[in-house]
């Protein structure tokens, strides 16, 4: 049989070779182990600042936080689950407000060359401003720390979505528009059935960038306005000199950020229909 001469070689090479993913996982675990080992030894031998807890101490404290996320012993002593929910609620509310402004505005701007050019200087100047620069203005205007946090997140969420929406609307394939024209589609029908679905992948990728930045900014905003949330927790634990809590919070913030990004990436694939953005 012809096969018999080939298959032994194949099976041998299979048993010795790992796939790229398997190799990467092994390397990841090795790097993680090395990092933890360096951290543990370094902390025990006092290589770092005396404040630096050991890896094992940090893991043990983290486990306490993570195993009981929903306790509530008053305003300054809540489980990490509550803290995250507070921050997430703020981010999602602010993000919703920002997106509700950015998407319709982006569509309007994208539909008219004149408006687009006229509004562009505003966007170009405001876009590079750190969202935190708006915070004092928010406090002054709104006189309320909660609303100021929402205000900052809303402003943060506007720019990437606005710019992407405008781009998506302006760059609809002219072939699609020609189809609509040859069929005699009304402006409204062209907008809802052709332009918006065509721009949807760009809009969602704008939303994805926005939610990422909003999640970055909420921590800083909560440190500044205080009161509650995961950002406030980080600062509060610094005041308590509880470094293990801060490290726990950093990891948890990273995980939630990753989760938000994944969610929008799924949404992106839903509206893409084979297109790449």
């Amino acid at each position: 049989m012809a096969n018999s001469t080939i298959s032994p070689a194949l099976s041998r090479s299979k048993s010795f070779r790992l796939t790229t993913n398997q190799k990467a996982t092994l390397l990841f675990l090795a790097l993680l182990g090395l990092l933890l080992l360096f951290w543990e030894i370094g902390a025990r031998l006092k290589w770092f600042s005396p404040l630096m807890p050991s890896a094992s101490q940090t893991l043990a404290d983290s486990w306490e936080w993570i195993s009981d996320p929903f306790f509530d012993y008053g305003p300054n002593d809540k489980g990490i689950g509550w803290l995250l929910l507070t921050s997430l609620r703020r981010v999602l509310t602010g993000f919703a407000i920002g997106s509700a402004i950015a998407i319709p505005l982006g569509i309007l701007i994208g539909l008219s060359k004149v408006v687009s050019k006229a509004v562009d200087p505003f966007i170009q100047i405001l876009r590079p401003v750190s969202p935190l620069a708006w915070l004092p203005l928010g406090l002054g205007l709104l006189r309320n720390s909660e609303n100021t946090a929402l205000f900052v997140i809303a402003i943060t969420s506007i720019w990437p979505t606005l710019i992407n929406t405008r781009f998506g609307v302006q760059n609809v394939d002219s072939a699609y528009l020609d189809v609509a024209r040859t069929l005699g589609a009304s402006r409204w029908r062209t907008l809802t059935k052709v332009i918006l679905p065509s721009a949807a992948p760009y809009i969602v990728s704008g939303l994805r960038i926005s939610i990422g930045i909003a999640w970055l900014v909420i921590v800083a905003a909560e440190i500044l306005v205080g009161g509650s949330g995961i950002g406030y927790f980080v600062w509060n634990e610094w005041n308590n000199l509880k470094i293990t809590s801060i490290i726990t919070a950093i990891l948890v913030i990273g995980l939630v950020g990753l989760l938000l990004d994944r969610l929008f990436s799924i949404l992106q694939s839903w509206v893409a229909f084979g297109r790449k953005v």
Binding site: A175, D178, T182, L183, K193, S198, V271, R275
Partner: protein, 294 residues
């Protein structure tokens, strides 16, 4: 193969088969204006006017299949866009039964070179979008029935719920043809519809268009690069000169009886003579285009 295709009556009640409109292109010229404003002058980016088409006159009898063939860049697509109403002629007019064309309309179905299917719509939705846009008053079930009928006509049964990115190029253009026909236009305009397809698929689709045309006999204008395609499908072949200022060089009558089959087409006494005439014309024009570029 579906043998009994009934063409759905449009809302206005025009019945089956044989649309009978007379299409007339009168002294069509198209000039693309160059840039001469002061900004362009400042940036030294001025360009002169480009005359794409010059004095095109063409009468197309009802229910005729006309191919337009010519060297690349001769303005064939521009001419088709003018008939479609997507582009305005600088001079002259397109008349359909004596009425001038001012904008696109559902009396002209267009098949695009790059298919132009909406990626977010399934095959069925793409076709139904066209039907609903043209006749919003039609009941949804009727729209569905018409869409299904045309899906069947182009042989895509079973692929109704697929999206364009799941289809091959040939299947996409079948959808393109079904969408153009589903609105029951009087004139079908096809802009190099098979240009992006491989030779085998192109052949299948040409046969398919020949078969459908036997059933529907609409007025068709087909832009093509392919001599064989033009000979297989057309009643008349319009050969254009090279651009700029492209004109009609010659109009050939294709006398082959229908239905036509690609296997036996070359047995007709006139086949080789026509083919040679077209090859000569095209190679002469193409060589001149290339010489002009050196």
């Amino acid at each position: 193969m579906t043998n009994s295709i009934s063409i759905p009556a449009s809302s206005s009640g025009t019945a089956n088969m044989a649309s009978s409109v007379h299409l007339s292109l009168q002294n069509i010229s198209k000039v693309f204006a160059g840039k001469r404003d002061w900004m362009s002058k400042l940036q030294r980016r001025t360009s002169s006017d480009y005359v794409a088409l010059k004095d095109i006159n063409l009468e197309i009898e009802p229910n005729t299949f006309v191919s337009i063939i010519g060297p690349s860049g001769c303005g064939k697509s521009t001419l088709l866009n003018i008939v479609a109403g997507l582009s305005k002629p600088t001079e002259g007019a397109v008349l359909i039964d004596g009425m001038p064309v001012t904008k696109p309309g559902a009396d002209r179905g267009v098949v695009f070179q790059n298919y132009a299917l909406m990626p977010w719509m399934s095959v069925l939705e793409n076709i139904r979008f066209a039907i609903e846009t043209v006749d919003p008053a039609l009941s949804k079930s009727r729209q569905m029935a018409i869409a299904q009928e045309y899906i069947e006509l182009v042989g895509l049964r079973g692929a109704e719920h697929k999206h364009p990115h799941e289809l091959s190029g040939g299947m996409k253009q079948r959808v393109g043809i079904a969408r153009a026909l589903a609105i029951n236009p009087q004139i079908l305009l096809m802009d190099e519809p098979f240009g992006a397809l491989d030779a085998l698929t192109r052949g299948f689709l040409q046969d398919e268009v020949e078969r459908i045309w036997e059933q529907q006999r609409k007025t068709v204008i087909l832009i093509t690069h392919s001599i064989e395609e033009a000979l297989l499908l057309s009643d008349k072949i319009v050969m254009m000169t090279r651009g700029p200022a492209a004109q009609i060089a010659q109009i050939l009558d294709v006398p082959f009886p229908r239905p036509r089959h690609r296997e036996t087409l070359d047995q007709h006494p006139a086949y080789h003579e026509l083919k040679t005439a077209m090859e000569l014309h095209l190679s002469r024009e193409t060589r001149a285009v290339e010489a002009a570029r050196i």
